[in-house]
Subunit: 312 residues, 2 copies
Protein backbone atom coordinates (compact mmCIF):
# COMPACT_ATOMS: atom_id res chain seq x y z
CA UNK A 1 0.00 0.00 0.00
CA UNK A 2 1.46 3.34 -1.01
CA UNK A 3 0.67 6.14 1.45
CA UNK A 4 -1.12 8.18 -1.24
CA UNK A 5 -3.24 7.26 -4.25
CA UNK A 6 -3.22 10.55 -6.15
CA UNK A 7 -0.48 13.14 -5.90
CA UNK A 8 -0.49 16.66 -7.32
CA UNK A 9 2.75 18.59 -7.78
CA UNK A 10 2.54 22.33 -8.37
CA UNK A 11 5.76 23.65 -9.88
CA UNK A 12 7.63 21.26 -12.17
CA UNK A 13 11.22 22.45 -12.06
CA UNK A 14 14.26 20.55 -10.78
CA UNK A 15 12.65 19.47 -7.51
CA UNK A 16 9.05 19.03 -8.68
CA UNK A 17 10.05 16.99 -11.70
CA UNK A 18 12.50 14.90 -9.65
CA UNK A 19 9.69 14.18 -7.20
CA UNK A 20 7.46 13.08 -10.08
CA UNK A 21 10.20 10.77 -11.37
CA UNK A 22 10.87 9.37 -7.91
CA UNK A 23 7.18 8.64 -7.32
CA UNK A 24 6.93 6.92 -10.71
CA UNK A 25 9.99 4.80 -9.89
CA UNK A 26 9.01 3.87 -6.34
CA UNK A 27 5.20 3.94 -6.37
CA UNK A 28 4.21 3.06 -9.92
CA UNK A 29 0.49 2.75 -9.13
CA UNK A 30 0.06 6.32 -7.92
CA UNK A 31 -1.83 8.79 -10.10
CA UNK A 32 0.30 11.87 -10.77
CA UNK A 33 -1.01 15.26 -11.79
CA UNK A 34 0.64 18.63 -11.81
CA UNK A 35 0.81 22.17 -13.02
CA UNK A 36 3.42 24.77 -13.86
CA UNK A 37 2.65 28.37 -14.75
CA UNK A 38 5.32 28.22 -17.46
CA UNK A 39 3.75 26.71 -20.58
CA UNK A 40 7.14 25.61 -21.93
CA UNK A 41 7.76 23.65 -18.72
CA UNK A 42 4.34 21.97 -19.09
CA UNK A 43 5.22 21.04 -22.66
CA UNK A 44 8.51 19.47 -21.55
CA UNK A 45 6.79 17.52 -18.78
CA UNK A 46 4.26 16.19 -21.30
CA UNK A 47 6.99 15.28 -23.76
CA UNK A 48 8.91 13.40 -21.04
CA UNK A 49 5.65 11.78 -19.78
CA UNK A 50 6.54 12.64 -16.21
CA UNK A 51 2.89 12.89 -15.10
CA UNK A 52 -0.35 11.14 -15.90
CA UNK A 53 -1.80 14.54 -16.71
CA UNK A 54 -0.69 18.15 -16.76
CA UNK A 55 -3.60 20.27 -15.56
CA UNK A 56 -4.69 23.64 -16.91
CA UNK A 57 -4.63 25.34 -13.51
CA UNK A 58 -3.35 24.72 -9.97
CA UNK A 59 -6.92 24.14 -8.77
CA UNK A 60 -7.59 21.57 -11.49
CA UNK A 61 -4.35 19.80 -10.62
CA UNK A 62 -5.14 19.33 -6.94
CA UNK A 63 -8.76 18.22 -7.35
CA UNK A 64 -9.07 14.74 -5.86
CA UNK A 65 -5.42 14.52 -4.77
CA UNK A 66 -4.68 13.12 -1.31
CA UNK A 67 -1.21 14.68 -1.37
CA UNK A 68 -0.47 18.13 -2.79
CA UNK A 69 3.15 19.24 -2.96
CA UNK A 70 4.01 22.86 -3.73
CA UNK A 71 7.41 22.98 -5.44
CA UNK A 72 7.37 26.69 -6.28
CA UNK A 73 9.62 29.54 -5.09
CA UNK A 74 8.82 30.71 -1.56
CA UNK A 75 7.46 34.00 -2.83
CA UNK A 76 4.81 32.18 -4.88
CA UNK A 77 3.49 29.98 -2.06
CA UNK A 78 0.69 32.26 -0.90
CA UNK A 79 -0.72 32.90 -4.38
CA UNK A 80 -0.70 29.19 -5.21
CA UNK A 81 -2.22 28.41 -1.81
CA UNK A 82 -5.07 30.82 -2.46
CA UNK A 83 -5.63 29.41 -5.94
CA UNK A 84 -5.93 25.80 -4.78
CA UNK A 85 -7.76 26.36 -1.48
CA UNK A 86 -11.30 25.81 -2.85
CA UNK A 87 -10.23 22.70 -4.74
CA UNK A 88 -8.40 20.84 -1.95
CA UNK A 89 -10.02 17.51 -1.15
CA UNK A 90 -11.24 16.60 2.33
CA UNK A 91 -8.52 14.54 4.05
CA UNK A 92 -5.72 15.78 1.79
CA UNK A 93 -2.25 16.62 3.04
CA UNK A 94 -0.85 19.92 1.80
CA UNK A 95 2.94 19.96 1.73
CA UNK A 96 5.81 21.71 -0.03
CA UNK A 97 9.57 21.49 -0.61
CA UNK A 98 10.60 25.05 0.33
CA UNK A 99 13.97 25.89 1.86
CA UNK A 100 12.58 28.16 4.61
CA UNK A 101 9.75 26.71 6.69
CA UNK A 102 8.27 29.36 8.99
CA UNK A 103 7.70 31.45 5.87
CA UNK A 104 5.72 28.59 4.32
CA UNK A 105 3.61 28.12 7.43
CA UNK A 106 2.86 31.85 7.50
CA UNK A 107 2.13 32.00 3.77
CA UNK A 108 -0.23 29.02 3.77
CA UNK A 109 -1.91 29.56 7.16
CA UNK A 110 -5.06 30.97 5.58
CA UNK A 111 -5.11 28.52 2.69
CA UNK A 112 -5.83 25.32 4.60
CA UNK A 113 -9.53 24.48 4.70
CA UNK A 114 -10.94 22.33 7.52
CA UNK A 115 -10.22 18.67 6.92
CA UNK A 116 -6.89 19.38 5.20
CA UNK A 117 -3.58 18.95 7.03
CA UNK A 118 -0.63 21.26 6.41
CA UNK A 119 2.68 19.40 6.81
CA UNK A 120 5.56 21.44 5.34
CA UNK A 121 8.63 19.53 4.23
CA UNK A 122 12.13 20.31 2.99
CA UNK A 123 14.11 17.68 1.14
CA UNK A 124 17.72 18.84 1.58
CA UNK A 125 18.72 17.92 -1.95
CA UNK A 126 19.26 19.61 -5.27
CA UNK A 127 21.78 20.52 -7.89
CA UNK A 128 22.79 23.81 -9.46
CA UNK A 129 20.67 23.02 -12.50
CA UNK A 130 17.08 24.09 -13.05
CA UNK A 131 14.00 22.99 -14.93
CA UNK A 132 12.20 19.70 -15.58
CA UNK A 133 14.93 18.27 -17.78
CA UNK A 134 17.49 18.61 -14.96
CA UNK A 135 15.49 16.41 -12.58
CA UNK A 136 16.19 12.75 -11.82
CA UNK A 137 14.55 10.04 -9.73
CA UNK A 138 17.41 9.39 -7.31
CA UNK A 139 17.87 13.02 -6.23
CA UNK A 140 16.45 12.34 -2.76
CA UNK A 141 18.24 9.04 -2.11
CA UNK A 142 20.18 9.10 1.13
CA UNK A 143 19.40 12.80 1.65
CA UNK A 144 17.49 14.16 4.64
CA UNK A 145 13.92 15.38 4.34
CA UNK A 146 12.91 17.65 7.22
CA UNK A 147 9.23 17.85 8.17
CA UNK A 148 8.13 20.93 10.12
CA UNK A 149 4.50 20.30 11.09
CA UNK A 150 2.79 23.12 12.99
CA UNK A 151 2.10 22.17 16.64
CA UNK A 152 -1.56 21.40 15.89
CA UNK A 153 -0.80 19.02 13.00
CA UNK A 154 -2.32 15.53 13.11
CA UNK A 155 0.46 13.03 14.01
CA UNK A 156 -1.08 10.51 11.61
CA UNK A 157 -0.68 12.95 8.72
CA UNK A 158 2.93 13.61 9.70
CA UNK A 159 3.64 9.86 9.87
CA UNK A 160 2.03 9.36 6.46
CA UNK A 161 4.22 12.02 4.85
CA UNK A 162 7.29 10.62 6.63
CA UNK A 163 6.46 7.19 5.17
CA UNK A 164 6.17 8.77 1.71
CA UNK A 165 9.62 10.39 1.81
CA UNK A 166 11.20 7.29 3.32
CA UNK A 167 9.91 5.26 0.37
CA UNK A 168 11.60 7.74 -1.96
CA UNK A 169 14.92 6.88 -0.29
CA UNK A 170 15.15 9.87 2.04
CA UNK A 171 15.92 9.90 5.73
CA UNK A 172 13.23 11.83 7.57
CA UNK A 173 13.59 14.19 10.52
CA UNK A 174 10.90 16.25 12.23
CA UNK A 175 11.83 19.68 13.49
CA UNK A 176 10.37 22.97 14.68
CA UNK A 177 10.08 25.34 11.70
CA UNK A 178 12.11 28.12 13.31
CA UNK A 179 14.89 25.75 14.27
CA UNK A 180 14.92 24.40 10.73
CA UNK A 181 15.37 27.93 9.44
CA UNK A 182 18.35 28.51 11.73
CA UNK A 183 20.01 25.20 10.80
CA UNK A 184 19.53 25.73 7.08
CA UNK A 185 20.72 29.33 7.34
CA UNK A 186 24.19 27.99 8.14
CA UNK A 187 24.22 24.75 6.13
CA UNK A 188 22.64 26.10 2.97
CA UNK A 189 21.61 29.76 2.82
CA UNK A 190 24.84 31.40 3.98
CA UNK A 191 27.01 29.18 1.71
CA UNK A 192 24.88 30.23 -1.25
CA UNK A 193 25.05 33.91 -0.30
CA UNK A 194 28.82 33.76 0.05
CA UNK A 195 29.19 31.93 -3.22
CA UNK A 196 27.06 34.48 -5.05
CA UNK A 197 29.03 37.26 -3.40
CA UNK A 198 32.53 36.06 -4.27
CA UNK A 199 31.52 35.36 -7.85
CA UNK A 200 30.37 38.97 -7.98
CA UNK A 201 33.62 40.21 -6.46
CA UNK A 202 35.64 38.26 -9.00
CA UNK A 203 33.57 39.60 -11.89
CA UNK A 204 34.05 43.22 -10.90
CA UNK A 205 37.84 43.39 -10.60
CA UNK A 206 39.81 45.82 -12.74
CA UNK A 207 43.32 44.36 -12.29
CA UNK A 208 42.34 40.77 -12.95
CA UNK A 209 40.39 39.97 -16.11
CA UNK A 210 37.36 37.73 -16.27
CA UNK A 211 39.33 35.47 -18.61
CA UNK A 212 41.97 35.02 -15.91
CA UNK A 213 39.36 34.23 -13.27
CA UNK A 214 37.96 31.53 -15.55
CA UNK A 215 41.31 30.06 -16.57
CA UNK A 216 42.68 29.72 -13.06
CA UNK A 217 39.42 28.81 -11.32
CA UNK A 218 40.66 25.28 -10.58
CA UNK A 219 42.54 26.75 -7.62
CA UNK A 220 39.32 26.73 -5.60
CA UNK A 221 37.03 29.38 -7.07
CA UNK A 222 35.23 26.93 -9.37
CA UNK A 223 33.80 25.11 -6.33
CA UNK A 224 31.92 28.30 -5.42
CA UNK A 225 30.60 28.92 -8.91
CA UNK A 226 28.60 25.71 -8.84
CA UNK A 227 26.16 26.75 -6.15
CA UNK A 228 26.24 30.33 -7.42
CA UNK A 229 24.69 28.94 -10.62
CA UNK A 230 21.54 27.93 -8.75
CA UNK A 231 18.13 29.36 -9.59
CA UNK A 232 18.13 33.13 -8.87
CA UNK A 233 14.40 33.42 -8.21
CA UNK A 234 14.39 30.58 -5.71
CA UNK A 235 17.37 32.04 -3.87
CA UNK A 236 16.13 35.63 -3.87
CA UNK A 237 13.02 34.36 -2.10
CA UNK A 238 15.00 32.28 0.40
CA UNK A 239 16.96 35.33 1.54
CA UNK A 240 13.90 37.54 1.73
CA UNK A 241 11.89 34.89 3.60
CA UNK A 242 14.56 33.69 6.05
CA UNK A 243 15.97 37.13 6.65
CA UNK A 244 16.56 37.11 10.39
CA UNK A 245 18.33 33.75 10.57
CA UNK A 246 20.49 34.58 7.53
CA UNK A 247 21.48 37.97 8.95
CA UNK A 248 22.37 36.34 12.28
CA UNK A 249 24.59 33.71 10.63
CA UNK A 250 26.10 36.30 8.32
CA UNK A 251 27.07 38.50 11.28
CA UNK A 252 28.83 35.57 12.93
CA UNK A 253 30.59 34.66 9.72
CA UNK A 254 31.79 38.23 9.21
CA UNK A 255 33.21 38.31 12.75
CA UNK A 256 35.06 35.05 12.20
CA UNK A 257 36.38 36.22 8.85
CA UNK A 258 37.57 39.47 10.43
CA UNK A 259 39.51 37.43 13.00
CA UNK A 260 41.28 35.54 10.20
CA UNK A 261 41.89 38.81 8.38
CA UNK A 262 43.54 40.19 11.52
CA UNK A 263 45.69 37.06 11.87
CA UNK A 264 46.88 37.48 8.28
CA UNK A 265 47.61 41.20 8.74
CA UNK A 266 49.65 40.57 11.90
CA UNK A 267 51.33 37.42 10.64
CA UNK A 268 49.77 35.18 13.31
CA UNK A 269 50.53 31.84 11.67
CA UNK A 270 49.58 29.85 14.74
CA UNK A 271 46.04 31.23 14.81
CA UNK A 272 45.64 30.45 11.10
CA UNK A 273 47.02 26.93 11.48
CA UNK A 274 44.76 26.12 14.43
CA UNK A 275 41.66 27.23 12.52
CA UNK A 276 42.62 25.41 9.33
CA UNK A 277 43.50 22.18 11.09
CA UNK A 278 40.12 21.99 12.85
CA UNK A 279 38.27 21.99 9.51
CA UNK A 280 39.40 18.55 8.43
CA UNK A 281 37.36 16.82 11.14
CA UNK A 282 34.09 18.30 9.84
CA UNK A 283 34.84 17.19 6.29
CA UNK A 284 35.57 13.66 7.48
CA UNK A 285 32.33 13.58 9.49
CA UNK A 286 30.29 14.69 6.46
CA UNK A 287 31.81 11.95 4.32
CA UNK A 288 31.37 9.37 7.09
CA UNK A 289 27.70 10.38 7.40
CA UNK A 290 27.16 9.62 3.70
CA UNK A 291 26.43 13.28 2.93
CA UNK A 292 29.28 13.69 0.43
CA UNK A 293 31.65 11.56 -1.58
CA UNK A 294 35.01 10.80 0.00
CA UNK A 295 36.66 10.72 -3.42
CA UNK A 296 39.19 13.48 -3.99
CA UNK A 297 37.92 16.58 -5.74
CA UNK A 298 34.25 15.45 -5.38
CA UNK A 299 35.19 12.56 -7.63
CA UNK A 300 35.71 14.86 -10.58
CA UNK A 301 37.26 12.89 -13.39
CA UNK A 302 40.95 13.41 -14.17
CA UNK A 303 41.25 11.70 -17.53
CA UNK A 304 44.64 11.06 -19.05
CA UNK A 305 43.57 13.23 -21.99
CA UNK A 306 42.24 16.68 -21.22
CA UNK A 307 38.62 17.58 -21.96
CA UNK A 308 39.70 20.25 -24.42
CA UNK A 309 42.82 20.70 -26.46
CA UNK A 310 45.68 22.41 -24.61
CA UNK A 311 46.17 25.89 -25.90
CA UNK A 312 42.68 25.95 -27.38
CA UNK B 1 64.13 14.07 -26.46
CA UNK B 2 62.73 14.93 -23.06
CA UNK B 3 63.65 18.43 -21.88
CA UNK B 4 65.43 17.08 -18.80
CA UNK B 5 67.49 13.95 -18.11
CA UNK B 6 67.56 13.97 -14.32
CA UNK B 7 64.88 15.58 -12.16
CA UNK B 8 64.98 16.11 -8.40
CA UNK B 9 61.77 16.76 -6.46
CA UNK B 10 62.08 18.12 -2.92
CA UNK B 11 58.86 17.56 -0.97
CA UNK B 12 56.91 14.43 -1.86
CA UNK B 13 53.34 15.22 -0.82
CA UNK B 14 50.29 15.45 -3.07
CA UNK B 15 51.91 17.70 -5.67
CA UNK B 16 55.49 16.37 -5.51
CA UNK B 17 54.37 12.76 -5.75
CA UNK B 18 51.91 13.56 -8.54
CA UNK B 19 54.73 15.23 -10.44
CA UNK B 20 56.88 12.12 -9.99
CA UNK B 21 54.07 9.92 -11.29
CA UNK B 22 53.40 12.25 -14.23
CA UNK B 23 57.08 12.29 -15.22
CA UNK B 24 57.22 8.49 -15.02
CA UNK B 25 54.11 8.22 -17.20
CA UNK B 26 55.14 10.80 -19.80
CA UNK B 27 58.96 10.70 -19.78
CA UNK B 28 59.87 7.17 -18.79
CA UNK B 29 63.57 7.59 -19.50
CA UNK B 30 64.12 10.41 -17.04
CA UNK B 31 66.06 9.71 -13.83
CA UNK B 32 64.00 10.75 -10.80
CA UNK B 33 65.39 11.52 -7.37
CA UNK B 34 63.82 13.24 -4.42
CA UNK B 35 63.75 13.97 -0.75
CA UNK B 36 61.19 14.61 1.96
CA UNK B 37 62.07 15.64 5.49
CA UNK B 38 59.33 13.29 6.78
CA UNK B 39 60.81 9.79 7.03
CA UNK B 40 57.37 8.18 6.79
CA UNK B 41 56.74 9.98 3.49
CA UNK B 42 60.10 8.73 2.17
CA UNK B 43 59.14 5.19 3.17
CA UNK B 44 55.82 5.47 1.32
CA UNK B 45 57.54 6.84 -1.78
CA UNK B 46 60.00 3.92 -1.70
CA UNK B 47 57.21 1.40 -1.22
CA UNK B 48 55.28 2.86 -4.17
CA UNK B 49 58.48 3.05 -6.25
CA UNK B 50 57.69 6.61 -7.29
CA UNK B 51 61.35 7.59 -7.70
CA UNK B 52 64.55 5.92 -8.85
CA UNK B 53 66.07 6.88 -5.53
CA UNK B 54 65.05 8.70 -2.37
CA UNK B 55 68.05 10.70 -1.19
CA UNK B 56 69.20 11.19 2.38
CA UNK B 57 69.24 14.99 2.15
CA UNK B 58 68.00 17.77 -0.14
CA UNK B 59 71.57 18.41 -1.30
CA UNK B 60 72.13 14.75 -2.16
CA UNK B 61 68.84 14.71 -4.09
CA UNK B 62 69.69 17.64 -6.35
CA UNK B 63 73.28 16.62 -7.16
CA UNK B 64 73.52 16.16 -10.92
CA UNK B 65 69.89 17.11 -11.61
CA UNK B 66 69.16 19.40 -14.54
CA UNK B 67 65.74 20.24 -13.10
CA UNK B 68 65.08 20.76 -9.40
CA UNK B 69 61.46 21.26 -8.29
CA UNK B 70 60.70 22.44 -4.77
CA UNK B 71 57.28 21.12 -3.75
CA UNK B 72 57.42 22.24 -0.13
CA UNK B 73 55.26 24.77 1.79
CA UNK B 74 56.16 28.38 1.00
CA UNK B 75 57.60 28.90 4.48
CA UNK B 76 60.16 26.13 3.89
CA UNK B 77 61.46 27.43 0.53
CA UNK B 78 64.34 29.50 1.88
CA UNK B 79 65.71 26.77 4.18
CA UNK B 80 65.56 24.21 1.38
CA UNK B 81 67.13 26.70 -1.03
CA UNK B 82 70.02 27.27 1.32
CA UNK B 83 70.48 23.55 1.85
CA UNK B 84 70.68 22.73 -1.86
CA UNK B 85 72.60 25.81 -3.07
CA UNK B 86 76.10 24.26 -2.90
CA UNK B 87 74.92 21.08 -4.63
CA UNK B 88 73.07 22.62 -7.60
CA UNK B 89 74.61 21.59 -10.92
CA UNK B 90 75.86 24.10 -13.48
CA UNK B 91 73.12 24.65 -16.07
CA UNK B 92 70.31 23.39 -13.82
CA UNK B 93 66.89 25.00 -13.67
CA UNK B 94 65.57 25.61 -10.16
CA UNK B 95 61.79 25.68 -10.03
CA UNK B 96 58.93 25.10 -7.59
CA UNK B 97 55.17 24.60 -7.43
CA UNK B 98 54.25 27.23 -4.81
CA UNK B 99 50.93 29.06 -4.80
CA UNK B 100 52.42 32.54 -4.24
CA UNK B 101 55.24 33.54 -6.59
CA UNK B 102 56.84 36.81 -5.48
CA UNK B 103 57.41 35.15 -2.10
CA UNK B 104 59.29 32.32 -3.84
CA UNK B 105 61.43 34.71 -5.84
CA UNK B 106 62.28 36.62 -2.65
CA UNK B 107 62.96 33.45 -0.66
CA UNK B 108 65.23 31.89 -3.27
CA UNK B 109 66.98 35.06 -4.54
CA UNK B 110 70.16 34.31 -2.56
CA UNK B 111 70.08 30.56 -3.24
CA UNK B 112 70.73 30.61 -6.98
CA UNK B 113 74.42 30.16 -7.83
CA UNK B 114 75.83 31.48 -11.12
CA UNK B 115 74.97 29.14 -13.99
CA UNK B 116 71.63 28.11 -12.44
CA UNK B 117 68.35 29.57 -13.69
CA UNK B 118 65.46 30.28 -11.32
CA UNK B 119 62.09 29.78 -13.08
CA UNK B 120 59.27 29.61 -10.52
CA UNK B 121 56.11 27.78 -11.58
CA UNK B 122 52.63 27.21 -10.23
CA UNK B 123 50.55 24.32 -11.54
CA UNK B 124 46.98 25.39 -10.69
CA UNK B 125 45.89 21.91 -9.71
CA UNK B 126 45.35 19.88 -6.57
CA UNK B 127 42.81 18.16 -4.42
CA UNK B 128 41.87 18.48 -0.77
CA UNK B 129 43.91 15.39 0.04
CA UNK B 130 47.54 15.36 1.18
CA UNK B 131 50.55 13.08 1.13
CA UNK B 132 52.24 10.84 -1.43
CA UNK B 133 49.43 8.29 -1.52
CA UNK B 134 46.94 10.96 -2.59
CA UNK B 135 48.92 11.86 -5.72
CA UNK B 136 48.12 10.70 -9.26
CA UNK B 137 49.72 11.08 -12.67
CA UNK B 138 46.89 12.94 -14.40
CA UNK B 139 46.56 15.71 -11.80
CA UNK B 140 48.00 18.32 -14.14
CA UNK B 141 46.13 17.28 -17.30
CA UNK B 142 44.23 20.19 -18.83
CA UNK B 143 45.13 22.47 -15.92
CA UNK B 144 47.12 25.68 -16.28
CA UNK B 145 50.71 25.93 -15.13
CA UNK B 146 51.84 29.53 -14.62
CA UNK B 147 55.53 30.35 -15.00
CA UNK B 148 56.75 33.55 -13.33
CA UNK B 149 60.37 33.97 -14.43
CA UNK B 150 62.19 36.98 -12.96
CA UNK B 151 62.90 39.64 -15.62
CA UNK B 152 66.54 38.51 -15.98
CA UNK B 153 65.66 34.84 -16.58
CA UNK B 154 67.09 33.15 -19.69
CA UNK B 155 64.24 32.74 -22.24
CA UNK B 156 65.67 29.35 -23.24
CA UNK B 157 65.31 28.09 -19.67
CA UNK B 158 61.74 29.36 -19.54
CA UNK B 159 60.94 27.65 -22.84
CA UNK B 160 62.46 24.41 -21.59
CA UNK B 161 60.33 24.42 -18.44
CA UNK B 162 57.25 25.33 -20.49
CA UNK B 163 57.96 22.33 -22.74
CA UNK B 164 58.25 20.13 -19.65
CA UNK B 165 54.84 21.13 -18.24
CA UNK B 166 53.20 20.91 -21.65
CA UNK B 167 54.38 17.32 -21.94
CA UNK B 168 52.72 16.59 -18.60
CA UNK B 169 49.41 17.70 -20.11
CA UNK B 170 49.30 21.22 -18.71
CA UNK B 171 48.59 24.44 -20.53
CA UNK B 172 51.35 26.93 -19.84
CA UNK B 173 51.12 30.66 -19.27
CA UNK B 174 53.90 33.10 -18.39
CA UNK B 175 53.09 35.95 -16.05
CA UNK B 176 54.65 38.58 -13.83
CA UNK B 177 54.95 37.19 -10.28
CA UNK B 178 53.03 40.02 -8.66
CA UNK B 179 50.21 39.75 -11.15
CA UNK B 180 50.08 36.00 -10.53
CA UNK B 181 49.71 36.68 -6.83
CA UNK B 182 46.79 39.02 -7.43
CA UNK B 183 45.03 36.62 -9.80
CA UNK B 184 45.46 33.65 -7.48
CA UNK B 185 44.37 35.71 -4.47
CA UNK B 186 40.87 35.83 -5.99
CA UNK B 187 40.72 32.45 -7.78
CA UNK B 188 42.28 30.36 -5.03
CA UNK B 189 43.43 32.05 -1.82
CA UNK B 190 40.25 33.95 -0.94
CA UNK B 191 38.00 30.94 -1.67
CA UNK B 192 40.10 28.85 0.68
CA UNK B 193 40.05 31.51 3.38
CA UNK B 194 36.29 31.86 3.15
CA UNK B 195 35.80 28.10 3.22
CA UNK B 196 37.98 27.75 6.31
CA UNK B 197 36.12 30.62 7.91
CA UNK B 198 32.58 29.36 7.36
CA UNK B 199 33.50 25.89 8.54
CA UNK B 200 34.75 27.54 11.71
CA UNK B 201 31.57 29.59 12.07
CA UNK B 202 29.44 26.47 11.68
CA UNK B 203 31.50 24.58 14.27
CA UNK B 204 31.15 27.28 16.91
CA UNK B 205 27.36 27.72 16.95
CA UNK B 206 25.42 27.15 20.16
CA UNK B 207 21.89 26.89 18.73
CA UNK B 208 22.76 24.50 15.93
CA UNK B 209 24.62 21.31 16.80
CA UNK B 210 27.60 19.97 14.91
CA UNK B 211 25.53 16.86 14.15
CA UNK B 212 22.91 19.04 12.44
CA UNK B 213 25.55 20.85 10.41
CA UNK B 214 26.84 17.49 9.20
CA UNK B 215 23.42 15.95 8.49
CA UNK B 216 22.12 18.87 6.45
CA UNK B 217 25.37 19.82 4.74
CA UNK B 218 24.05 18.72 1.33
CA UNK B 219 22.26 22.07 1.14
CA UNK B 220 25.52 23.72 0.06
CA UNK B 221 27.85 23.71 3.07
CA UNK B 222 29.54 20.46 2.07
CA UNK B 223 30.97 22.12 -1.05
CA UNK B 224 32.95 24.46 1.21
CA UNK B 225 34.23 21.73 3.48
CA UNK B 226 36.14 20.12 0.64
CA UNK B 227 38.65 22.90 0.15
CA UNK B 228 38.65 23.60 3.90
CA UNK B 229 40.10 20.10 4.27
CA UNK B 230 43.26 21.13 2.41
CA UNK B 231 46.70 21.01 4.01
CA UNK B 232 46.80 23.54 6.91
CA UNK B 233 50.56 24.15 6.76
CA UNK B 234 50.54 24.90 3.07
CA UNK B 235 47.63 27.30 3.44
CA UNK B 236 48.95 29.05 6.52
CA UNK B 237 52.05 29.87 4.50
CA UNK B 238 50.05 31.03 1.47
CA UNK B 239 48.20 33.62 3.55
CA UNK B 240 51.34 34.80 5.34
CA UNK B 241 53.29 35.03 2.07
CA UNK B 242 50.63 36.61 -0.15
CA UNK B 243 49.33 38.89 2.56
CA UNK B 244 48.81 42.12 0.66
CA UNK B 245 46.95 40.65 -2.32
CA UNK B 246 44.76 38.49 -0.05
CA UNK B 247 43.87 41.45 2.20
CA UNK B 248 43.01 43.52 -0.87
CA UNK B 249 40.67 40.85 -2.28
CA UNK B 250 39.20 40.20 1.15
CA UNK B 251 38.35 43.89 1.57
CA UNK B 252 36.54 43.88 -1.77
CA UNK B 253 34.69 40.69 -0.92
CA UNK B 254 33.58 42.09 2.45
CA UNK B 255 32.23 45.21 0.76
CA UNK B 256 30.28 43.16 -1.75
CA UNK B 257 28.93 40.88 0.97
CA UNK B 258 27.86 43.91 3.00
CA UNK B 259 25.92 45.17 -0.03
CA UNK B 260 24.05 41.85 -0.24
CA UNK B 261 23.49 41.94 3.52
CA UNK B 262 21.94 45.38 3.17
CA UNK B 263 19.72 44.17 0.32
CA UNK B 264 18.48 41.31 2.51
CA UNK B 265 17.86 43.60 5.49
CA UNK B 266 15.86 46.06 3.39
CA UNK B 267 14.07 43.45 1.33
CA UNK B 268 15.58 44.59 -1.97
CA UNK B 269 14.72 41.51 -4.03
CA UNK B 270 15.66 43.15 -7.30
CA UNK B 271 19.25 43.80 -6.19
CA UNK B 272 19.56 40.19 -5.02
CA UNK B 273 18.10 38.79 -8.22
CA UNK B 274 20.39 40.89 -10.44
CA UNK B 275 23.49 39.70 -8.57
CA UNK B 276 22.42 36.05 -8.53
CA UNK B 277 21.48 35.98 -12.19
CA UNK B 278 24.88 37.31 -13.28
CA UNK B 279 26.68 34.38 -11.64
CA UNK B 280 25.43 31.75 -14.06
CA UNK B 281 27.46 33.17 -16.95
CA UNK B 282 30.75 32.71 -15.06
CA UNK B 283 29.91 29.11 -14.22
CA UNK B 284 29.11 28.39 -17.87
CA UNK B 285 32.38 29.99 -18.99
CA UNK B 286 34.39 27.86 -16.55
CA UNK B 287 32.75 24.68 -17.81
CA UNK B 288 33.17 25.78 -21.44
CA UNK B 289 36.88 26.45 -20.79
CA UNK B 290 37.33 22.85 -19.60
CA UNK B 291 38.15 24.00 -16.06
CA UNK B 292 35.29 22.11 -14.41
CA UNK B 293 32.82 19.39 -15.21
CA UNK B 294 29.47 20.45 -16.60
CA UNK B 295 27.76 17.50 -14.93
CA UNK B 296 25.29 18.47 -12.21
CA UNK B 297 26.63 18.48 -8.66
CA UNK B 298 30.26 18.12 -9.88
CA UNK B 299 29.23 14.73 -11.25
CA UNK B 300 28.71 13.35 -7.75
CA UNK B 301 27.04 9.98 -8.04
CA UNK B 302 23.37 9.67 -7.16
CA UNK B 303 22.95 5.91 -6.96
CA UNK B 304 19.50 4.39 -6.70
CA UNK B 305 20.57 2.87 -3.38
CA UNK B 306 22.03 5.22 -0.79
CA UNK B 307 25.67 4.92 0.28
CA UNK B 308 24.66 4.19 3.85
CA UNK B 309 21.52 2.74 5.35
CA UNK B 310 18.74 5.28 5.97
CA UNK B 311 18.40 5.91 9.65
CA UNK B 312 21.88 4.60 10.36
Amino acid sequence: MTPFARIAIIGLGLIGSSLARAVRARMPGVALTGFDRDGAVCETVRRLSLLDSVAGSPAAAVAGADLVVLAVPLGAMRAVGEAIRPALAEGAILSDVGSSKQAVIDALADCVPPGVQLVPAHPVAGTEQSGPEAGFASLFMGRWCILTPPPAADPAAVARLADFWTRLGSRVETMDARHHDLVLAITSHLPHLIAYSIVGTASDLEDVTKAEVIKYSAGGFRDFTRIAASDPTMWRDVFLMNRDAVLEMLARFSEDLAALQRAIRWGDGEALFRRFEASRAIRRAIVDAGQDTGAADFGRSHPETPATTPGA
